[in-house]
């Protein structure tokens, strides 16, 4: 239990996926204009990464390892993730239309989010068990959500300020991200 908690805090705060590992920068910069959409994207990412880390851990343990095909992990994982996102999209559309309404737009964007593949590969690299892998995936995605929602909140405030023309748009967002990364350093004392 203690190990699970350590993994969770470590992935969500200390080694924040966006601010210290630089995974998922594209949606972090692209979908962080409004708090609502940022939270929607965060929700979709939590959903997909948790399922994806469960499925990929399962496949690695019960299919790739017994057959001695560990070296195929990258190919297998990326295909599984792409298929999974499609499947989740269709499933939500049929079974849970309200959730689909809320997350639908963001789902196709997630295939190209390198955080999903990154988590799957980290799980293998650190030889996590299936449960640890799922916890790691969930916590990483929660860390992503925290970062993107805070970022969106700050960006909404920046809108009201006067930014010098050259810094408008991406540069000021990157500077904000840098300051957030410094703030997140504070968590490194936790573990």
């Amino acid at each position: 239990m203690e190990k699970l908690l350590l993994i969770a805090v470590g992935s969500a705060l200390v080694n924040n996926v966006v601010l210290s590992q630089f995974l998922g920068i594209c949606p972090f910069l692209g979908v962080s204009k409004k708090v609502n959409t940022a939270a929607g994207m965060g929700g979709a990412v939590v959903f997909v990464i948790t399922i994806a880390s469960f499925v990929t851990s399962l496949i690695y343990k019960y299919i790739l390892t017994p057959l001695g095909f560990e070296y195929l992990q990258t190919i297998v994982f990326i295909l599984v993730i792409a298929a999974l996102v499609q499947f989740v999209e269709m499933f939500l559309k049929k079974i849970m239309p309200p959730l689909y309404q809320a997350l639908g737009v963001y789902l196709p964007l997630i295939t190209t989010n390198c955080a999903v593949l990154g988590v799957a590969l980290t799980n293998v690299q650190k030889s996590y068990t299936i449960l640890e892998g799922v916890v790691n995936g969930f916590a990483t995605a929660v860390g992503f959500t925290i970062a993107i929602v805070i970022m969106a909140g700050i960006r909404e405030k920046i809108e009201d300020n006067e930014v010098s023309p050259a810094l408008k748009g991406t540069p000021i967002v990157l500077i904000t991200a840098g300051l957030m990364a410094i703030a997140f350093f504070g968590f490194s004392g936790l573990i």
Binding site: L19, S20, Q21, F22, L23, G24, I25, C26, P27, L29, G30, V31, Y71, L72, Q73, T74, I75, I78, L79, A82, P108, L109, T111, T112, N113, C114, L117, G118, L121, T122, Q125, P165, A166, L167, K168, G169, T170, P171, I172, L174, I175, A177, G178, L179, A181, I182, F185
Partner: protein, 224 residues
Amino acid sequence: MNKCLERLFNGLIKENPTFVLMLGMCPTLAVTTSAINGLGMGLTTTVVLVMSNMLISMLRKIIPDSVRMPAFIVVVASFVTMVQFLLEGFIPSLYDSLGLYIPLIVVNCIILGRAESYASKNPVLPSIFDGIGMGLGFTVGLTSIGIVREILGAGQAFGKQIMPASFEPITIFILAPGAFFVLAGLTAIQNKVKLEAAKKGKKVETKAGCGEGCGNCTNCGGGK
């Protein structure tokens, strides 16, 4: 042959993936802690890009349109896996310092983007040169960011001390926040240049990139 040279120029300068298109931001931020890492990552990506462009261009008439994305992903992922093992075997130091980011080349927008927008529509030779041009452009981008960060953060370039001993290294530049600050400075300079050009009445094409919004990421990666 002219067309091939044009592709090289296009990748290095006109459509430089790092500075102009702003693609592949994850590795750009993550591995540029030193010049040598940036160079290694750039060259690794170049190799994958050239090989995948070549194979996809060869297969462009065989791959059915409806399954082209999964097919491209399989091709790219196979080359990435091969390169990963070659690095592990022959340059273990680079393999260790790049770590997780080597398999993540698979989801680099640049590679699928070139496969989709160039290699799947053009003959083999120009596609190879397109890959070389784009790859070298990416390498130049990563290496120069790496040099800036290494000089500011450690007073070195390619591991050699170049700043005088009295220079106090600004360690934050080789840590995570430094990556964001350097990239912010870079895009600000680029904006400045664009604004100046716009003032002079020149029309500046705005190219879509990852920084501009995620819809564009899907264009190059998801293909939907």
